[in-house]
């Protein structure tokens, strides 16, 4: 119990902060923050598996998040039949060519000795394949993008339930991680960081500019939701009754029937958004708890011990007969898949897919700050890091505004410096997060909740 005391205290403080936001700002905002905290927590869990368990530095979190988001579009959006009929065959042929290219390259790699001939053959396959794809896909893409460009202009998805896309998002991310891992995992730590960061940029730029896939920067809006819609709730009698019961004392204070109706309408509108967010919160909580249980079990299993052994001393672990390369690749895929799930969760929560918003600042570096601040190698720490840093990231502006007003209270309203500072309040989040990271790294490099090794 003593061991868990600091964890319990840290989490209680965090919950208290979110409840305070609920009381002082609004419950809707508090729940939004809570949901995003949980999404961040899942991302942090993924990054923590890579960094905390195995010491692999992955700055490509943005790319996996974006792929997870793409999965939501590809799974849940209804297919666009016109687009399929004009370009479907060609695009499928291209997919076939890509698969053929991969297998023929594999075949050559396996069956021909390492030589110049092999290199030329592979280069030839790639060049011929790319030219074929360009010829076949070019006109098809134009036709697909011409199908009602204001609304669709893309192939659409499969029209399946949206929750299914969370798993697909994980699989997509795992696939990318497999390729990245094969390419980059042999590199030294800081090279790996740069390489993953840049590969993620490539992935995002492809998603951004291939409009036939997911409309690119034109965004996909109105995605399906696993939760009820506010509009439906506001018209369904059971929900109105529920709100009425919940707020009966407040409603009784109303003077007239029309006033009572007005108050009730307002309450129903507020409550519907809270209800929807609660639904999301419930689903996210389930995901977080499942992942937490799995990762906790894994961490203290023989496999987890092996990973830590590899992290702490690669050569010794390798001498003991552990396949370091294979395990690194495996854990890289695992962590990335979790990040992919988080990406899918986020897009589901927002209800829209905006490839233009995937930027390394928000989706790679902030997540890394969460991992470091929370506690590397400790899953509870990682989740807490997600909560703390996201909370700071969102609430930094109001906090900064409060302090600016406090310190410049003696200055007149029109004072140039004061106006300038108030206008730049949103940027204090960078300052807060940056200084937070620097302080943690200096004075508590193991994070708020440090890694715990259970001796057996």
């Amino acid at each position: 119990m003593r061991n868990y005391l600091n964890i319990i205290i840290a989490y209680s403080i965090m919950m208290l902060l979110i409840i305070l936001v609920g009381i002082f700002q609004s419950w809707s905002i508090a729940l939004t923050i809570f949901n995003y905290c949980m999404i961040s927590a899942v991302m942090t869990l993924g990054a923590n598996i890579q960094w905390g368990y195995a010491g692999l530095i992955n700055f490509g979190i943005m790319g996996y998040t974006a792929l997870g988001g793409l999965a939501v579009v590809l799974v849940s959006v209804a297919p666009v039949p016109e687009a399929w009929s004009v370009g479907g065959v060609n695009m499928m042929t291209c997919l076939g060519i890509i698969i053929l290219m991969i297998f023929s390259t594999r075949y050559i790699l396996k069956n021909i000795q390492k030589s110049n001939k092999r290199n030329y053959l592979i280069a030839g396959i790639i060049i011929v394949g790319l030219i074929l794809i360009k010829i076949i896909a070019g006109p098809a893409i134009e036709q697909i993008e011409a199908v009602d460009p204001a609304k669709t202009g893309f192939l659409g998805g499969l029209g399946l339930p949206v929750l299914f896309s969370w798993i697909v998002g994980g699989l997509f991310a795992a696939g990318l991680a497999f390729i990245v891992g094969k390419v980059a995992l042999g590199l030294r730590a800081d090279y790996l960081a740069i390489a993953t960061l840049l590969i993620a940029e490539i992935v995002v730029s492809i998603i951004k500019h291939e409009d036939w896939l997911a409309r690119g920067v034109k965004n996909v809006i109105g995605l399906k939701r696993p939760a009820p819609y506010e509009i439906d709730l506001q018209t369904s009698p059971w929900f109105i009754n529920l709100v009425e019961k919940f707020h009966s004392t407040k409603l009784d204070l109303a003077n007239s029937l029309s006033e009572r109706q007005d108050i009730l309408n307002q309450l129903v509108i507020d409550a519907s958004s809270v209800y929807v967010k609660l639904c999301f919160a419930g689903m996210f909580l389930v995901v977080v708890i499942i992942l937490l249980i799995i990762t906790q079990k894994a961490l203290y299993s023989p496999w987890g011990r092996m990973m830590r052994a590899i992290r702490d001393n690669e050569e010794a672990a390798s001498a003991m007969g552990k396949n370091v390369v294979k395990q690194h690749l495996f854990i890289f895929i695992l962590g990335s898949a979790i990040v992919g799930i988080a990406g899918a969760m986020m897009v589901t929560n927002d209800g829209l897919f905006t490839p233009g918003s995937y930027r390394p600042m928000r989706y790679t570096f902030v997540i890394w700050v969460m991992v470091i601040v929370g506690g590397t190698g400790n899953n509870f720490g990682a989740i807490l890091g997600g909560f703390v840093v996201w909370f700071l990231w969102v609430e930094a502006a109001p906090i900064a505004l409060f302090f600016i007003n406090l310190f410049t209270a003696h200055l007149p309203e029109t004072n140039e410096i004061k106006v300038h500072l108030i206008n730049s309040a949103p940027y204090f989040r960078f300052l807060l997060v940056g200084i937070g990271l620097l302080l943690i790294m200096r004075f508590r490099p193991q994070g708020i909740i440090p890694e715990k090794i259970i001796k057996q």
Binding site: I57, V183, A184, G186, L187, A189, D190, Y191, A193, I194, A195, L197, L198, I199, E201, I202, S205, I206, K208, H209, P360, M361, F365, W368, V369, I372, L421, N423, S424, Y427, F428, R429, F430, L431, L432, V433, G434, I435, L437, L438, M441, R442, P445
Partner: protein, 336 residues
């Protein structure tokens, strides 16, 4: 005649812009490589440090303009370079003393330092945005063109015009001067040699009486000069926007690694490799081919290998290819 026209087209739309962009990347890449070679970490605050120096140049340019100082036909920003460099070095030294020094003395692994530089990146970005805001700013004044397309056409009687912007000329000339001085400094002076020795083998360097404090100090000073000048040149040529500078860090890293990280010559070369690849692969060759091919073979399409949207992706792909086949870069890396 057609051949000359074709060459002019290439010169105008690919070679000169690529040389300019390459020079800007090269200065940044040398900055990255220097920090990596001597201080031994990948500095993720690169873009923001360049942005920080440029910010002072922008502010001072506005100030100079308001009190009526200008630099004739050259941009006023060139006058502000020394002041901006001074502020930049001051900032870097403060950061070094308060942040990086602790980890250097503790001999933390490079990853730790890289992570710390992420913290520095956040803080620098915050300071920049609080002081100057995130908006797009142009601070170029003076003569805009050295050679205008119409003038060139009149002069030579060719169908194609050649435009040379003054910023392009300034970028290339300043880069040559700065890089030449820096290579001379690294190779011919005693301090430069001690820096190279420190980069090659820290223990041996310490044994032979090289003062590590001095090496670090000089490194930050050179880094400050490079970061500021690189940033100002980019800002003059395009425009100053903090977010763009942060993003520029990525091709700069690519350039440094492609050239062989830790090796300034490689970084210099890598900058141009990246720039030329980006521009040559995204340029639409139709106009060029119309001149050199017989009429029957004239292309219908744009003859563009990749859309310009993939500019950044190209440099990153080059990096990935280099990392797979030659992880130490084109030139042997990790040396100075």
């Amino acid at each position: 005649m057609d051949l000359i026209n074709a060459v002019i087209v290439l010169l105008n739309y690919t070679i000169i812009p690529a040389l300019t962009y390459g020079s800007q990347l090269a200065i940044g890449a040398i900055f990255v490589t220097l920090i990596y070679g001597i201080l031994r970490f990948a500095n993720f605050a690169t873009g923001d440090m360049m942005s920080f120096g440029t910010m002072f140049a922008v502010l001072l340019t506005y100030y100079f303009q308001s009190i009526g100082i200008n630099f004739g036909f050259l941009p006023t920003a060139l006058l502000t370079i020394p002041f901006a460099i001074f502020m930049m070095i001051l900032y870097m030294l403060i950061i070094d003393q308060t942040v990086f020094k602790y980890y250097r003395i503790k001999k933390s692994p490079p990853v730790m330092l890289a992570m710390v530089s992420v913290g520095v990146m956040f803080v620098t970005q915050a300071i920049i945005r609080i002081i100057i805001g995130p908006t797009d700013r142009r601070f170029l004044d003076g003569e805009k063109f050295i050679l205008k397309a119409t003038e060139f056409k009149e002069m030579t009687g060719l169908a194609e015009g050649l435009t040379i912007k003054s910023t392009q000329m300034i970028t290339i000339v300043v880069t040559i001067i700065v890089v030449a001085i820096m290579f001379w400094f690294l190779n011919k002076t005693k301090t430069g040699t001690s820096m190279r020795a420190y980069s090659d083998n820290e223990d041996l360097a310490l044994l032979s009486g090289i003062d590590p404090k001095k090496v670090v100090l000089i490194t930050w000073i050179i880094a400050g000069i490079l970061a500021t000048i690189g940033g100002i040149l980019y800002g003059l040529d395009k425009s100053y926007r903090p977010f763009v500078y942060f993003n520029n860090m990525l091709p700069i890293f690519a350039a440094a690694i492609v050239g062989g990280i830790g090796n300034p010559y490689g970084a210099f070369f890598g900058g141009y490799v990246i720039a030329f690849a980006e521009i040559f692969l995204t340029y639409a060759y139709k106009r060029f081919l119309v001149y050199i091919l017989p009429e029957s073979l004239e292309p219908n399409s744009l003859m563009q290998l990749l859309s310009t949207d993939y500019k950044f992706a190209i440099s990153f792909s080059i990096l990935v290819i280099v990392l797979i086949f030659r992880p130490s870069g084109i030139f042997e890396g990790k040396r100075i």
